[in-house]
């Protein structure tokens, strides 16, 4: 069955870790979780491919881990808080992972953050249909608040 489409598929450069991804990536995330123990980290580093056989991984998932392809791991159901543990096992800072995922150098990524981060302008929507958010704007129209109470039904 094809994956059910979701409204958040329209957000560019983003893998939303939803229930389907969680099901798909269970092996990736449990592998990453195992790296919280030092003995496991050492065993993994000694023979990565062999260690990965302990987990229910598909061949593309195994390849993504071995190649440290962090975006592919996310695409195949990994979650960043888990895959970051693999980065830590390699002795990499989070900035390294961010640079890998965004396809930039660590220096460029750090400079972008210092300059205020990646702008949301031009990064809201793949389809280009999304408008800037309305709900979070300040200057509330307090009169209207009470009228729209039925919104939660």
């Amino acid at each position: 069955m094809a994956r059910e489409p979701h409204d958040y598929d329209d957000i560019p450069g983003t893998f939303v870790f939803d229930a389907e991804k969680s099901r798909q990536g269970y092996g990736i995330n449990m592998f990453c979780m195992s790296l919280m123990k030092d003995a496991n980290r050492r065993e993994f580093k000694a023979n990565e491919a062999e260690y990965l056989k302990k987990f229910p991984l598909t061949p593309p998932q195994t390849q993504a881990i071995l190649k440290r392809d962090y975006n592919r791991m996310l695409e195949l159901g990994g979650n960043i808080y888990f895959t970051a543990k693999l980065g830590a096992t390699d002795g990499h800072s989070f900035r390294h992972l961010a640079a890998v995922m965004t396809g930039s150098s660590q220096e460029d990524y750090a400079a972008m953050m210092l300059a205020g981060g990646r702008s949301v302008e031009g990064n809201r929507s793949k389809s280009g249909k999304a408008k800037p958010a309305a709900a979070a704007k300040s200057k509330p129209k307090s009169k209207r608040v009470s009228k729209s109470r039925s919104q939660r039904g």
Partner: protein
Amino acid sequence: MARIIAGVASSHVPAIGAAIDNKQTEEPYWKRVFSGFEKSKEWMAKTKPDVAIVVYNDHASAFSVEIVPTFALGCAAQFPPADEGWGPRPVPVVQGHPELAAHIAQSVILDEFDLTIVNKMEVDHGLTVPMNLLFGSPEQWPCPVIPLAVNVVLYPPPTGHRCYMLGKAIRRAVESYPEDLRVVIFGTGGMSHQISGPRAGLINSKFDKAFLDNLTKDPKKLTRIQHLEFMREAGAEGIEMVMWLIMRGALDDDIEEVYRFYTVPASNTAVGHIILENKRRPAKGKKAAARNKPVAGSKKPVAGKHKRAAARADYRNVRRGKR
């Protein structure tokens, strides 16, 4: 009677914890962040709460993907710092308040919030970093803490509206606890950030500042922000901001903003912080509340000290589907 006297919101960036642990707080990059919390520490030292309820999220430390509770209330006597891959943070063991926590659990579950009770749990930077920012780095934390872990890792997290209403239920729970305790509630996480995928590094100061404004003056507006909007505007991980709404729900509608701080960046994240105090003391006894109860179905705003009773009646109507 116990009561919630104030709410605090703060980002919980792990790198802030690392900067504290590695004694880098005086470096220019970090000084910019930490200087924003100097006043907050003074405020906290003066406020001296008896208990803190800290709403936070676990980052694959206590909960992996094996069990993912939406709301998990820490009812243990102690919560040791978790090993997040570099050894546990050198912070004191968090002391719980099992009696109040058990009371809250019982109260909010009967109030239809089916949270998970956790009697053994380690706590990660999500909880300990905001504590450092508000309490500093003491030998022992100055008050017991009730952790409330919220799932914001596996989509979908609870809605902002659900979080806000849970805050109200927590308030009712606290106020039905017989011991005189002054409670401060923390909402942590946020503000805008995305740490995953090709769009990592996203920051949206405009969204954050509007969120801070509305947190003070129109939190109900924030409860209508949909998950899609949080992720699109504030980054995939910016959705953590729903946790701030639990804190806000636990406060009066009309509150006083005591302090605010905002800076970009700390590591990959926009750092936001706000302190909100309840203005007036809660009315004593049930009589006052009963007297102030508005006529059912009335949507007319009630002035001044009647507000809280009105809010309660209003909430009951929501549950009965009258709104």
